[in-house]
């Protein structure tokens, strides 16, 4: 980054310099390099990158990209498209409503990262660069060239602040660093996208369908990645690809369109999710799917408590546990002291009501507390639940929950004669046990989404947000703070209990150790909260995506082993530093955290 020093000296004479890139290559050559490099990268994915199939994914075949090559192919294709659009090629203009250059930069960066990750992974796994075939060198060179070319694309440099002549060396250094960071940020910043043209509504609905289909494909691919390297590559490509699409303005336009058809989008999203089991040939990944869905549903329930009403609940998983235990106790399991077998609807009611009762019992005395105190009390309650369940084993307490052995062999559900425990053939597709539960869980998720959307946009939802914003003012506006908070707490608890009733049947066994405050496997209270915060408080899509990521990452990256929690902590710190509003920001939150940006003053209803 030697070019920045010249930038700060030229700024002394504020002449209108022509915008330049980060790298001193003329922009037209840079653009050509970016395009050519991306095309070459696409071509190189059809070559062999290594000589042996010892590296997973079989990258040895000419003419047929496999494994990580597919990801590089996707990234390269995206970069090529954006680069061609930046030339103003007819028919591609719609790709870049916010200008192509930033999108090209992100796309080439993503392709570069994926390709170099692959090449390095091959070298490390197989022990040396000799294991690379020419194709490996080609892709490395091509993506590097494309990235360098993209970095040469011009951008508007920010004006440096003038120096204070009294600055010490350290202050000067800080000043310079700050300015360099600003330049770097500007290099990757995009303009504001032009508003989306009014399309006939069938076309808009088609676009929504396409977006949802794309999301389903990406999710299915991610969940189906078979080895660590592919999943890391997937995360890199998906992350940068998403950023590139965002910089191109497509995401903004898409969210404008979905905002116009919110109901269709939500229904479509559920249909897309319901398609997921049909894309699977066996039950292996449907298992992941149903666990993700349980986790995500509970996270969404927590989002009512944390995101809307602003009550920090650190023991939320206990309500999931209450629901699961309640359902398990009436499920007819041989380890249950009650020898009853309720039908599913009754078990769901029992689970939800039990959680509701516990929610009110816990909430009534504690919700008079504010902020941190509530967090501590809920944390304590979460632990009390676990320990109490551990102790009600007949020796240290009444025989109720079978102690640490838990309630085992919970029978599978039968709903209206449909046995969820066995495989079914539907339209030629085999739907296994976990896929059955996936559908059931999807229904529960739909209920939670419905409750979240409808209650959020109503008198009670506004009262929650008001309480979160300023409790004193909310009270002065006639809101019964305690009552409103108790409703939020009870609703959150009930929804978690609802998910718990299904969870008990999915996992066959409920034990106290499933409901920890923090552990390596979600759902636990810490991960639930992390999913909400990571995804974006107060949104629907946020916790769902946050939960999916938080479930998949530890599940797929087994090699992290004992460092999982450390890596998780570091990732969370970084995210909070650089994107405190979460991956899918609530419009309000984004404004809250980025006051200095000249954000649009009008709050439109974007994002489902």
């Amino acid at each position: 980054m030697t070019t920045q020093t010249t930038a700060s000296t030229t700024a002394a004479a504020p002449a209108a310099t022509t915008p330049t890139g980060l790298i001193g290559i003329p922009p037209h050559i840079g653009r050509a390099l970016a395009t050519g490099g991306s095309v070459l990268a696409v071509i190189s994915t059809f070559l062999a990158w290594t000589w042996t199939s010892a590296f997973p994914g079989n990258l040895t075949v000419y003419g047929y990209p496999g494994g990580l090559q597919v990801l590089v192919l996707v990234g390269g294709a995206l970069a090529t498209l954006f680069a061609l659009a930046s030339y103003g090629v007819k028919g591609l203009g719609w790709l870049t409503p916010a200008g192509a250059d930033a999108a090209v930069k992100y796309a080439t960066l993503g392709t570069f990262a994926t390709a170099w990750y692959t090449v390095l992974a091959i070298s490390f796994d197989l022990g040396g660069l000799v294991n690379l075939e020419p194709g490996g060198y080609v892709v490395a060179a091509a993506t590097l060239i494309a990235l360098l070319g993209a970095l040469a694309l011009p951008f508007e440099r920010p004006e440096p602040d003038p120096f204070d002549p009294d600055d010490t060396g350290w202050e000067r250094f800080k000043h310079n660093t700050g300015h360099n960071l600003a330049i770097l940020r500007a290099a990757f910043a995009a303009g504001s996208p032009r508003p989306v043209r009014a399309l006939p509504s069938y076309a808009e609905i088609l676009i929504i369908v396409a977006v949802l289909a794309l999301a389903l494909v990406v999710f299915t691919y991610g969940i189906g990645t078979e080895y660590d390297e592919l999943f890391v590559g997937f995360l890199i490509t998906a992350g940068f690809g998403f950023s590139a699409l965002h910089r191109s303005g497509l995401i903004t336009q898409a969210s404008q369109i979905t905002a116009r058809h919110q109901n269709i989008t939500v229904c479509g999203a559920f249909i897309a999710a319901a398609c997921f089991p049909f894309t699977q040939t066996d039950d292996q990944y449907a298992t992941l799917g149903v666990y993700i869905l349980i986790f995500a549903t509970v996270a969404l329930g927590l989002n009512i408590v944390v995101g809307l009403a602003g009550l920090l609940d650190l023991g939320y998983v206990a309500f999931l546990g209450v629901g699961a235990y309640a359902a398990a106790l009436v499920s007819g399991s041989p380890s249950s002291p009650f020898g009853v077998h309720f039908p599913f609807w009754a078990a769901v009611l029992v689970g939800a009501v039990a959680s509701l009762v516990f929610g009110v019992l816990i909430g009534a005395p504690t919700l008079r507390l504010r902020g941190d105190y509530l967090a501590i009390v809920t944390l304590g309650f979460g632990e009390i639940f676990r320990i109490a369940v551990n102790n009600t084993d007949g020796t240290s307490g009444p025989d109720l929950t079978n102690g640490s052995n838990g309630i085992a062999s919970i029978p599978d559900l039968k709903i209206l004669g449909f046995d969820l425990g066995v495989q079914h053939e539907i339209a030629g597709f085999t739907i296994g046990r976990f896929a059955n539960y996936f559908f059931l869980m999807l229904l529960i998720t739909a209920v939670v989404v419905l409750v979240f959307r409808r209650s959020g946009d109503s008198r009670i939802g506004r009262a929650w947000v008001a309480i979160r914003e300023d409790e004193t003012a909310a009270l002065a506006m006639g809101i019964n703070g305690f009552r409103v908070k108790l409703i939020a707490f009870a609703v959150g608890a009930t929804l978690a209990g609802l998910a718990g009733t299904v969870q008990a049947h999915v996992t066959y066994t409920v034990t106290p150790e499933q409901y920890l405050f923090a552990g390596t496997t979600p759902p636990n209270s810490a991960f639930l909260l992390a999913a909400v915060v990571l995804g974006g408080m107060g949104t629907i899509a946020g916790p769902l995506i946050g939960a999916a990521l938080l479930f998949l990452i530890p599940n797929k990256l087994q090699f992290l082993g004992d460092f999982q929690l450390l890596a998780f902590g570091i990732a969370l710190v970084l995210l909070m530093r650089f994107r405190p509003e979460g991956l899918i920001p609530n419009r309000r939150r984004q404004l809250e955290f980025h006051e200095e940006d000249d954000a649009p003053a009008v709050l439109s209803k974007t994002g489902a």
């Binding site: 419905l450 409750v451 409808r454 209650s455 946009d457 109503s458 008198r459 009670i460 939802g461 506004r462 009262a463 947000v465 008001a466 914003e469 300023d470 004193t472 003012a473 909310a474 009270l475 002065a476 506006m477 006639g478 809101i479 019964n480 703070g481 409703i487 609703v491 309000r588 939150r589 404004l591 809250e592 003053a601 009008v602 709050l603 439109s604």
Partner: protein, 309 residues
Amino acid sequence: MTTDTTTKDTAPGASAPGTTVLDARGVTMRFGGLTAVRDVDLTVSSGEIVGLIGPNGAGKTTFFNCLTGLYVPTEGEVRYKGKVLPPKSFKVTAAGIARTFQNIRLFANMTVLENVLVGRHTRTKEGFWSAVLRGPGFHKAEAASRERATELLEFVGLAAKADHLARNLPYGEQRKLEIARALASEPGLLLLDEPTAGMNPQETRAAEELIFAIRDQGTAVLVIEHDMRFIFNLCDRVAVLVQGQKLIEGDPATVQGDERVIAAYIGEPLENDPGAAEAAEVEAAEAAAEAEAEDEAATDAAPGKENDR
């Protein structure tokens, strides 16, 4: 003084002019050994604008908080339309007393319209189930709330900014929005805590107009303010609070001329101070002239000229 304004557009919470809306008797507030408010009586009748002034730390805001249920007075009682006020601020609002805050307390990250809708909370009933099930009653109530909120925004002149975030409004408009939010709860009595703090003269004028308009709708108003010119123009009656005790209460002219008030604000004049009389004369004349020029309230303030002692 009796209001001669025609209440053409009566607010829902309003009552017939002349009836006592607020009746505070012997309100005393102690914090440990400190007595912030001592034995204060105050009545406010409907259709009246009453001012509450006093030097910094005189206990004005504490007294306000006693009226709105944020504090429970140690002694004495506050009656609103004959009923003793409940000790919870949300119940006070439901009873019909709404307030604004000295340091603006809007819901900064909600839109302007949503802020006013929150103010409607006590006058609507739709609970959680209604929100989830969305029956016809829900839609009707929501539409009615929105309509009323939009009317209020038009009333204070913020209708064009209904979708803006409250935090992005300029200062003066935030004050207006706070008033609109308070009015949304259909109060019979509106308490304004320093509504013109930090405003420029034009904004102060606009605030004055707004408060007169609120009074004309039949809502009684109690104002705390430091801006003397503003308060003497605006109010039908002024009470002065000094060190937690009510020093004097009366029409603006009487209060303006009272020696103890001047002493409390400026300090005791020197014995035979040659400049004091002239200064007071000039000030009073100025205030009167100002008032006369500005609006019909001057008809009340004009007799104040005689107070040149």
